[in-house]
C-alpha cells in the first residue's frame, strides 16, 4: 500500500467512526449538535482523502460540481422554511438517488463486459435503487409541494401493472448479471427503475408521506451502500447502511403508529375517493363561542395542545406559542401532545414547535400524555383529525382500527379548531366531533388562536 493509499484509507476509516459517533449524538438534543460537527468533520476528511486518489487527473470539473452543489446546498440549507421540510427532504432523497445511479451508469459504461458477476450485481442494485429513489422522491416532492394533487392517483389494474413492472425489472436484472456486456439490458433496467419509482408513489396519499419519505430515505441509503460494494469502498457501505437502516427503522415506526403494514401503505391507496365512508353515528356538532373557549383556557389547570398537519398549513405554530405564553403567565400548565404520524414526515410537528420557541420539555409523546388526559382540563386539537379519532380505539371494523390515538376525548373538555365540517384525510367520520365533551371552533387556526390569545389577555 502506497503512502497515498494509506492516507486515503485512513481518512475513510476515521470518517466511518465519526459518522457513527455523530449519529449517536442524536440520541439527545443536548449532544446532537456536537455529534453533527463530528459527522461534518468526517465528511470533510473523506472528501479531502478522495481528492488524493490517483485516478483523479484533473480538478476543474470537480471544482465546478463542488461549487455548483455548494451554492445550491447553502441556498437551500439557509432559506428553506421549516414548514417545507418534508418537501426538502423528499427532494434531497431524489438527489441522493440520482448521484448513486449516475455513478453506477458511469461505472457500467467504463467497464461494460469486463465486469464480474459480483460487480454487475452491485451496480444493478445501485442503479435500480437509485433510479426508483430518484423518480419516486420527485413524485413525493411534487405531492408535498402540491404540484400534483395529494390524494392517491389510482386506476384499475394498478397493482397488477406495478407487479409486472417490478417482475420484469428483476428478470432483466438477472439476465444482465448473466450477460454483463449487454448494454441494451442495462438501459432497459434503468428505464424500468425510473418508471417504477413514479408508479410506486403516485397512488400513495399525502398523509401517508411519513412512511413513504422514510422508505425512500432507506432506498437512497441502500443505493449508496450498493455503490460502496461496486467500488469496493467501505466508508460508502457503512454510511449507506446507516442511512438505509435509519430510513427502514423510521418507516416501521410510522407504520406501527398507524397500525398498518408497509404493504398496505404502499399498495392500499389509503384515503382514496373509493374508500368506503361508513357513517357510524350521526350527530350534532356543538359549535362554541370564542369567548367561552378563552374563559375555559384561562381558568384551566392543565391545557394540552394536539397539533396536526392543519397547524402546519395554517402556519399557526407561532400563534399557538403566543397563546401558550399567556396561559403560562396565568399559571396554567401547558403541554403539547405529538402523535408520531402527525404532519407529513417523522418528527415534523416537533420541528415546527421548536422553531416557534416551544421548549422540548413541553413536547410529550403519545404514551406519555395519554395517562394525563383524564386530568387535563382542556385539550385543544389544532388541525389534527385521524390521530384523535376514537373510532380507532372503539370500532374494530373501522379502517383505522387499532391505530394508537391521542385520547383527547378523555379530557374534561375538548376544543377542536377546524376550518370546516369536512372529513379527515382517511375520509372517515370522526365521532369525536359529535361527543358532548367536544366543542368546535370553526375558522382558520391561526386567526382563531390569535383572537383567543387576545381574549384570554382581557380576562
Amino acid at each position: 500500500m502506497s503512502a497515498q493509499n494509506l492516507l486515503i484509507e485512513l481518512s475513510y476509516f476515521t470518517a466511518s467512526i465519526l459518522f457513527v459517533l455523530g449519529l449517536r449524538g442524536l440520541s439527545h438534543p443536548e449532544t446532537a449538535r456536537r455529534g453533527m460537527f463530528m459527522a461534518e468533520f468526517g465528511m470533510l476528511l473523506a472528501v479531502i482523502g478522495t481528492l488524493l486518489h490517483r485516478d483523479i487527473v484533473s480538478y476543474e470539473w470537480i471544482i465546478v460540481g463542488l461549487l455548483a452543489g455548494s451554492t445550491i446546498g447553502v441556498a437551500m440549507g439557509l432559506w428553506v422554511p421549516m414548514t417545507a421540510m418534508p418537501q426538502r427532504t423528499a427532494l434531497s432523497h431524489a438527489f441522493g438517488g440520482l448521484a448513486a445511479a449516475l455513478v453506477g451508469v458511469s461505472e457500467f459504461l467504463r467497464h461494460g463486459e469486463h465486469l464480474g458477476t459480483f460487480k454487475v450485481t452491485a451496480l444493478g442494485f445501485e442503479v435500480l435503487l437509485g433510479g426508483i429513489t430518484f423518480t419516486g422522491s420527485l413524485i413525493a416532492f411534487a405531492k408535498l409541494q402540491e404540484l400534483v394533487k395529494g390524494t392517491p392517483i389510482t386506476y384499475k389494474g394498478q397493482n397488477v401493472l406495478n407487479g409486472l413492472l417490478f417482475a420484469s425489472a428483476v428478470v432483466i436484472f438477472v439476465a444482465l448479471v448473466l450477460n454483463p456486456g449487454h448494454t441494451a439490458l442495462f438501459y432497459a433496467m434503468c428505464a424500468l427503475a425510473l418508471l417504477f419509482g413514479v408508479l410506486l408513489v403516485l397512488p400513495i396519499g399525502a398523509a401517508d408521506m411519513p412512511v413513504v419519505i422514510a422508505l425512500l430515505n432507506s432506498y437512497a441509503g441502500l443505493a449508496s451502500a450498493a455503490t460502496g460494494f461496486a467500488l469496493g469502498n467501505n466508508v460508502l457501505i457503512i454510511a449507506g447502511t446507516l442511512d438505509g437502516g435509519s430510513g427502514f427503522i423510521l418507516s416501521i415506526l410510522m407504520c406501527k403508529a398507524m397500525n398498518r403494514s408497509i404493504t398496505n401503505v404502499l399498495f392500499g391507496a389509503f384515503g382514496s375517493a373509493t374508500a368506503t365512508v361508513e357513517t357510524g353515528e350521526e350527530g350534532v356538532m356543538r359549535e362554541v363561542a370564542l369567548d367561552d373557549v378563552a374563559t375555559q383556557l384561562a381558568y384551566a389547570r392543565q391545557v394540552v395542545f394536539v397539533p396536526g398537519y392543519g397547524m402546519a398549513t395554517a402556519q399557526a405554530q407561532n400563534a399557538v406559542r403566543e397563546l401558550a405564553n399567556i396561559l403560562e403567565h396565568r399559571g396554567v400548565q401547558v403541554k403539547y401532545a405529538i402523535h408520531p404520524v402527525a404532519g407529513r414526515m417523522p418528527g415534523h410537528m416537533n420541528v415546527l414547535l421548536a422553531e416557534a420557541n416551544v421548549p422540548y420539555s413541553q413536547l410529550y409523546e403519545l404514551e406519555q400524555i395519554n395517562p394525563e388526559m383524564p386530568t387535563t382540563d382542556v385539550a385543544v386539537v389544532i388541525g389534527a383529525n385521524d390521530v384523535v379519532n376514537p373510532e380507532a380505539r372503539d370500532n374494530p371494523k373501522s379502517a383505522i382500527a387499532g391505530m394508537p390515538i391521542i385520547e383527547v376525548d378523555k379530557a374534561k373538555s375538548v376544543i377542536v379548531l377546524k376550518r370546516g365540517r369536512g372529513k379527515g384525510f382517511s375520509g372517515l367520520e370522526n365521532p369525536l366531533f359529535f361527543k358532548p365533551v367536544t366543542g368546535l371552533l370553526f375558522g382558520d387556526a391561526k386567526t382563531s388562536l390569535t383572537r383567543l390569545a387576545a381574549a384570554v389577555n382581557e380576562l
Binding site: 453533527m36 440549507g77 438527489f95 467500488l231 454510511a239 435509519s246
Partner: protein
C-alpha cells in the same frame, strides 16, 4: 468467492447492527433532524462521484460524474446546514429574553 464481496458483506452486516442500535436510541423528538442528518451522511456517495468526475475516463463519464458531484454536494452541504439549523432550535427551557423579543 470474491474476497472483496466477503469483506464488504461483513462490513454491511456489522454496520446494519450498529446502525440499528444507534438509531433506535434517537427519540421521536429528533426524527426530522435524524432524517436530514443521515441524508447528509449518505451524501458520502460524493466520494465515488468525485473520482468519476476527475478521472477523465471518457466524456460521458465526466459529465455524469459532474452531475453526480453536484447532486451529492447539495445533499452534504444543504443537509448538514439544515440539520444544524433545526438542532439549534431545540431548547430545554425557553430563553425568556429570546422568547419576548421573538
Amino acid at each position: 468467492m470474491n474476497e472483496v464481496l466477503i469483506a464488504g458483506l461483513y462490513v454491511f452486516v456489522l454496520a446494519a447492527f450498529l446502525g440499528y442500535q444507534v438509531i433506535s436510541r434517537v427519540p421521536p423528538l429528533l426524527h426530522t433532524p435524524l432524517m436530514s442528518a443521515t441524508n447528509a451522511i449518505s451524501g458520502i456517495s460524493l466520494i465515488g462521484s468525485l473520482v468519476t468526475a476527475g478521472a477523465k475516463y471518457n466524456t460521458t463519464s465526466t459529465i455524469l460524474g459532474v452531475v453526480a458531484v453536484t447532486a451529492a454536494t447539495i445533499n452534504v452541504v444543504g443537509g448538514f446546514i439544515i440539520t444544524d439549523r433545526m438542532l439549534k432550535m431545540f431548547k430545554r427551557e425557553a430563553k425568556p429574553a429570546a422568547a419576548e423579543k421573538k
